[in-house]
């Protein structure tokens, strides 16, 4: 018991529980409560647990989450996956590797709306993979395009992870969303470059289709016009201050509802299913958050932040060094944790250290999300590659990772660019 008063031991026990397969949300709550009890006694620790769950479940700023999830699920219900892919395909089919780039764009767009890499992998694999195989694309490139494209969703707004980051660091969620736009576009462009690199070095002989007439390409946009309009409505509303980010979620959900209604795709059973999914995901995410907050109280009382701060500054009291250490931590943690758990667990510890080094916390939020994206496709354990493997059973994991090499290469370039030119992140939010 008294051993748990030391955070080093507590963290070890936490990871043992996680590897045993205890749900992250409950493992965090258990360790947080027992650890806190070791420091201040059982009765206060229990009271703290009750207060944490009771107070935070009624947080107005967090109501943004279910509403954005609801918006995304409605857009998915409207059949956006196929429409996105057709539109991207119509515009890119005449370019070399166009089909793979179209897949990246469609996966980025789809994962951004639905917010789940699992759903992106399973949905897009069904739509994009058969087509790429038909045209002779190698499995390595096809699967890598899906896996890499799917990582972009947590950066392109609206992003659940950025909401959690904003809540934990008291940063403006609207600014965080706006800050994600340019790095998200940069990600898409660089992934297109990665496709070209793969083709060049793999000596793939890929067919190029005829260019569609402009008229037909514009017609192909019809299916995504609603979703694009919705995105512009939500981001524009935040940018021009028509509503707060929290309100934008409700307005966006309302817009998405209208979209499904206008497309005639609203049937009661399907809508009920969409809302049920939203509620389940909401519960799952909030319980991770509550668990992380309970654990953060233990971290707070155990003096962990101070110890780590001392440790980091003793290694090198140099901003770049601090960022590199943090980057490494994320790449390692990314082997076992998915993004939301990783962010809720680490951000409370890291953000005071980073702020003390003079980094902008909006910038750091975007940086952390990009590094998390990279960890999703980094071997030996890349979450998105694993997820895709579980969906596409006839492709070897090694094949997927081989295809991801060039994508990882451009991701490193993106991380370096963001470090060297913070303006890529801060330009849009600072114009607000």
């Amino acid at each position: 018991m008294s051993l748990l008063a030391h955070w080093e031991f507590g963290t070890l026990v936490l990871f043992i529980l996680l590897f045993l397969g205890v749900p992250i949300s409950f493992a965090l709550a258990l360790l947080g409560t027992v650890g806190t009890a070791a420091i201040i006694g059982w009765s206060p620790s229990y009271s703290l647990l009750g207060q944490t769950y009771f107070e935070h479940s009624r947080s107005y700023s967090l109501s943004i989450l279910p509403l954005f999830l609801m918006m995304g699920n409605f857009v998915v219900q409207s059949g956006i996956a196929r429409d996105l892919y057709s539109a991207a395909y119509a515009w890119l089919r005449h370019r070399k590797g166009g089909l793979a780039v179209a897949t990246v764009v469609a996966c980025g767009g789809f994962s951004s709306v639905c917010g789940s890499s699992l759903a992106t992998a399973s949905t897009m694999a069904k739509i994009a993979l058969p087509n790429m195989r038909k045209f002779g694309y190698p499995d390595s490139l096809s699967t890598a395009s899906i896996a890499a494209g799917g990582t972009l969703g947590i950066l392109i707004p609206p992003s659940v992870i950025l909401v959690f980051y904003g809540i934990m660091t008291q940063q403006d969620i609207g600014k965080l969303f706006l800050a994600g736009i340019l790095p998200g576009i940069l990600g898409v462009v660089l992934y297109a470059v990665a496709v070209r690199i793969s083709i060049r070095f793999g000596h793939f002989d890929l067919p190029v289709e005829d260019k569609l007439p402009l008229r037909e390409r514009i017609v192909a946009l019809k299916g995504v016009a609603g979703a694009l309009g919705l995105f512009a409505f939500v981001m524009g509303g935040i940018y021009f201050g028509v509503f707060t980010p929290t309100e934008s979620a409700g307005m966006g959900a309302g817009g998405a509802f209208l979209l499904v209604l206008l497309q005639g795709r609203l049937n009661l059973s399907q809508t009920l299913s969409t809302l049920f999914e939203t509620a389940k995901t909401t519960a799952m995410m909030f319980f991770i958050l509550f668990g992380a907050l309970t654990f953060a109280n233990y971290v707070n009382l155990s003096g962990m932040s101070r110890d780590i701060q001392t440790l980091v500054t003793s290694v090198g009291d140099n901003p770049l060094m601090v960022i590199l250490i943090i980057t490494l931590v994320y790449l390692v943690l990314g082997c076992v944790l998915e993004g939301l758990s990783m962010i809720t667990l680490t951000v409370p510890i890291f953000y005071p250290i980073v702020a003390a080094q003079g980094f902008d916390l909006i910038w750091f939020g975007i940086y952390v999300v990009i590094v998390t994206e990279v960890s999703y496709i980094t071997p030996p354990v890349g979450l998105n590659a694993f997820v895709l493997k579980s969906v596409v059973k006839d492709v070897q994991l090694g094949t997927i990772f081989r295809g991801l090499t060039s994508f990882l290469l451009v991701d490193v370039l993106r991380v370096v660019l963001i470090l060297a030119f913070p303006a890529i992140v801060l330009l849009v939010p600072n114009m607000m």
């Binding site: 009765s43 703290l48 021009f240």
Partner: protein
Amino acid sequence: ETVLTMNSWLPPTHPQVSELFVPWMADIERVTEGRVKINMLPAPLGPPPAAFDLAKNGVADIAYSVHGYTPGRFKTPMIAEMPFMSDSSVATSVAFWRVHEALLKDAGEYEGVKVLTLFTHGPGEIFSTKPIETPEDISGQKIRIGSALAHSIATDLGAVPVEGPSSKAYELLSQGVADGIFFPFESVNFFNLNDILDYGYTVPGGLYNTAMFVVMNEAKWNSISPEDQALIEPLLGEAFARRAGEMWDKVDAEGRASMEGKIALKAATPEEIEVLRDRLAPIVASQIAKVSETGIDGQAAYDMLFDEIAKIEAEE
């Protein structure tokens, strides 16, 4: 040696932390010759509404917060949130403490904790992006408010109340979700609103105020030796309230000075004050009635508060 943990949810740069609590903590350590120390936690253990229970349940030893963050729980402190009290936070804070000692504490709202002090901020005024020359101009403006009483006052003046935490003030105003805000002078400056806001309308004694507490777990207090308790007592209660008031008056003056050339302040004319008094009288009466629900004579507490304020203002 006793180390007391203190929960803090304001940023460390906020004057209530840096200029009030931190020097006060150092004084406690000094008078007890290091036998009693206070350790302020690097991050809060819960959101601001949780603070009172954190101390009551012994999660943290000392906690501070705003009474109004847990609506329904504290009725007596509403006495100190009334309009037209005083332009001096020393006067309102010390008077609030004296009324608490004389009358309010019998309501038994602070069971399980030792009340270290009670205080208020400086006079709360209206600031806006749109001109306010007379009380009529407030009508129709979207005003961010932070408490139930301020909500009633804003509504009564015809404003459209916008709800939201003070930490979101910049966002609400810069984006035009709210036109204006109810705030003390200091907070306008602290939340960097000088460049966004253009107009201020001031009422002598303020249009509203906010009551705040600092409490300590009772068992923890009793565990301190009587000798050390005796050494600490002079730093609590009225002395602590005065100290809080002095801090607020100082930063309010700084806040007011920083508005120079950025915010046009208009003071209410005597006629306007009379109009406002009449309009807000029912709200004042209903708040007094709410205080009386606790078994305390609300009117007596209200009268004593204003008597004490007058006395303290005369001394200054």
